[in-house]
């Protein structure tokens, strides 16, 4: 692993590369709903918008602070509840908060909860921290059943986002207007969280992640560093929660505050890449694809997700973002050429193995869950008959052949990759000593 969370910042007044990247990001947010025009696409893009904020806020803890939290849904969920109650109060005319400021209310709510609960949580680091977040997560989730007045019981709390006067002509009734509200917050929050990485607190947080003991000996109270970072993460998590409340017009405790939700944030922040700032953005996109599309496609989607997570932890612990960064590094040193073919090989052989394995999984799921519908299951345009041994043997054969070929390609890939890395190391050494 040679990627640091924050790229080096030299004191340059104008950083063209950075301006281009941020402009592209803004352009992408603006243009996306015009490129993908279906209502499903719009709904997915909207979810990506606030999930980007949530996963980036989660990564302030995980990637930048080394704090493995199992309870981030507490802060997004509480932000969402506080936001939705504020919306209902505003509808009744009791508080004068326009809809465009509701996410901020959610943010302040998440921050307040983080101030309250974070004080205990951040007393310790490492495993103890993780355990406390788990405990507090369960505590808040179970408390939601004890206070149905605030949490709305099993039905949750509902609202109508089209209250008040239109803002600059926007009523926020149509989904596209909600998308742009979320996209606006997404851009601002992403920029703010990136800016945070370049401040003293942001940098000392990295130091606390790397070596908390040493930080104590350079004048910093590590507990306070963790606490402040936790509060900031809670603020952005609350904004994300508030935006989700606006999007769905309903918040349900059994879903929004659940441990499964917290686990999802952890999983996808990790898959996207916790060691690189933009990793969680990829994670948010993957999360939406997995929960919206993969879950439509197959009943076994959680199983596939678990397998993907497993392989990621084993082979690319830096997530997708670190894979991208490592390959960019190889490309920058002009050594990417042999990898085109190797990646093609990996994808093809891996694809063959995946098809075989997926066919087996689908057949097992069919036998277990849908056998009343007959022995036949549709798979990738084929019809597999679970009552015939040939289907099973065929699928297994495809999986095994794929696995064998994949292993062959993988070995070759590992060798060429190692050679490229060695060459790059030598090149770096040479440049350093020039």
């Amino acid at each position: 692993m040679v990627t640091s969370v924050v790229p080096m910042q030299r004191t340059r007044p104008l950083n063209m590369g950075r301006i281009i990247v941020w402009s592209l990001f803004a352009l992408l947010l603006v243009a996306a709903p015009h490129v993908f025009t279906s209502s499903l696409a719009l709904s997915m893009l909207t979810q990506m918008g606030y999930l980007i904020i949530i996963l980036l806020s989660y990564n302030i803890l995980l990637g930048q602070g080394g704090m493995l939290s199992f309870g981030h849904a507490v802060y997004t969920g509480m932000g969402a509840f506080i936001a939705i109650h504020t919306m209902n109060l505003a509808t009744q005319g009791k508080v004068p908060v326009p809809l465009v400021l509701i996410p901020l209310v959610g943010g302040l709510g998440g921050m307040a909860i983080a101030i309250l609960l974070g004080f205990v949580t951040t007393k310790k680091s490492g495993t103890t921290f993780a355990m406390i977040t788990l405990g507090i997560g369960e505590l808040v989730a179970s408390m939601s059943l004890m206070f149905p007045g605030f949490f709305g019981g099993e039905g949750g709390v509902t609202t109508n986002r089209t209250y008040g006067n239109p803002f600059l002509g926007f009523t926020f009734g149509p989904q596209i207007q909600v998308y742009y509200l979320i996209a606006f917050y997404c851009f601002i929050c992403t920029a703010l969280m990136f800016a945070f990485t370049g401040t003293p607190l942001g940098r000392i947080l990295n130091a606390v992640r790397d070596n908390p003991e040493r930080v104590e000996f350079i004048g910093y109270n590590t507990q306070r560093v963790r606490y402040f970072a936790f509060i900031i993460a809670g603020f952005f998590a609350g904004i994300g929660g508030g935006l989700s409340a606006i999007n769905f017009e309903i918040v349900n405790a059994s879903d929004s505050l659940s441990g499964a939700r917290s686990g999802g944030y952890l999983l996808f922040a990790f898959l996207g890449g916790a060691t690189v700032f933009f990793g969680p953005i990829i994670g948010a996109v993957l999360l939406v694809f997995a929960s919206v599309m993969l879950s439509e496609l197959t009943k076994a989607w959680l199983l596939y997700l678990g397998l993907i997570f497993l392989f990621m932890v084993m082979f690319a612990p830096g997530g997708v973002a670190s894979l991208i960064m490592m390959n960019l590094r190889v490309a920058r040193f002009g050594r990417f050429r042999p990898f085109w073919l190797l990646y093609l090989g990996l994808i093809l052989t891996g694809g063959v193995m995946a098809v075989g394995a997926a066919a087996l999984v689908e057949m097992v799921y069919h036998v277990q869950l849908n056998s009343a519908l007959g022995p036949e299951v549709g798979f990738a345009g084929l019809t597999l008959d679970t009552s015939r041994i040939g289907s099973w043997l065929g699928a297994a054969a495809v999986a095994l052949v794929g696995l064998g070929l994949l292993e062959l390609v993988r070995r070759r890939f590992a060798r060429v990759w190692g050679e490229a890395q060695e060459a790059i190391q030598a090149e770096v050494k040479r440049l350093e000593n020039e």
Binding site: M1, V2, S4, V5, M8, Q9, R10, T11, A195, F196, G198, T199, P200, L201, G202, R203, I204, N206, A207, R209, D210, N211, E213, R214, V215, E216, F217, I218, G219, Y220, N221, R224, V225, F228, I232, E432, N433
Partner: protein, 263 residues
Amino acid sequence: MSRPVKAMNHALQIQGLRKSFGKTEIIRGIDLAIEAGDRIAIIGPNGAGKSTLFNLISGRLTPTSGEVLLNGQRIDGKTPYEINRLGLSRSFQITNIFPKLSVFENLRCGVLWSLGYRYTFLRFLSNMHDANERTEELLQQVGLARKRDVLAVNLTYAEQRALEIGVTIAGGASVILLDEPTAGMSKTETAHFIALIKQVTTGKTLLTVEHDMGVVFGLADKIAVVVYGEVIAFDTPAAVRANARVQEAYLGSSVADAQGQGH
């Protein structure tokens, strides 16, 4: 060497210091008064309590009884960061840096508190010119300017040791504790490193734990010999060398070795 002793002039004063782990007493009543600007080497056999003494002074451990005064102010029982803010900084025997931060970032982290930036998150590091200039200075001082943007984890061992010293002195502390700074280094690296330590601790009070006798006699104004949790001698190198009790208890042949090396 011996100057007239004035109580207020003591950078560090240790009185009746004791530390027990369970029933075992590791530090058994240490008294030391160290004058500002002196370079002190603490020597003693393995397990004598040298590192424990450092941990007690720097706040990593809390004394069982006794007092530690930094520039006349009680620091025993305070946390490491409180002690650091009062002007005492230490390095570690096992390299203790920030592996995934660059050399520059490592040093800048050490600089920030002393310049009053604390937990700021409303200003950019890149605009903090005093911090950046000080960091560049440090890079030059510890000889790592060419490794500025290299991640600390990718440095050689000797470079990491130099970085460790750099992080230790970054905050401008007046009292510096170095725990075996040259451990694991080759002879030539050690010689180079001693020169570095001398240079960066000019005008500061230095305490160092050291095993290499050549280093001790080359660096120290005074030597404190710790045996079984007690200071059995605290004097100039020449006097310690001549001290019969020290020779008997600990030094013996290693003094001869050091003299043999031309010290």
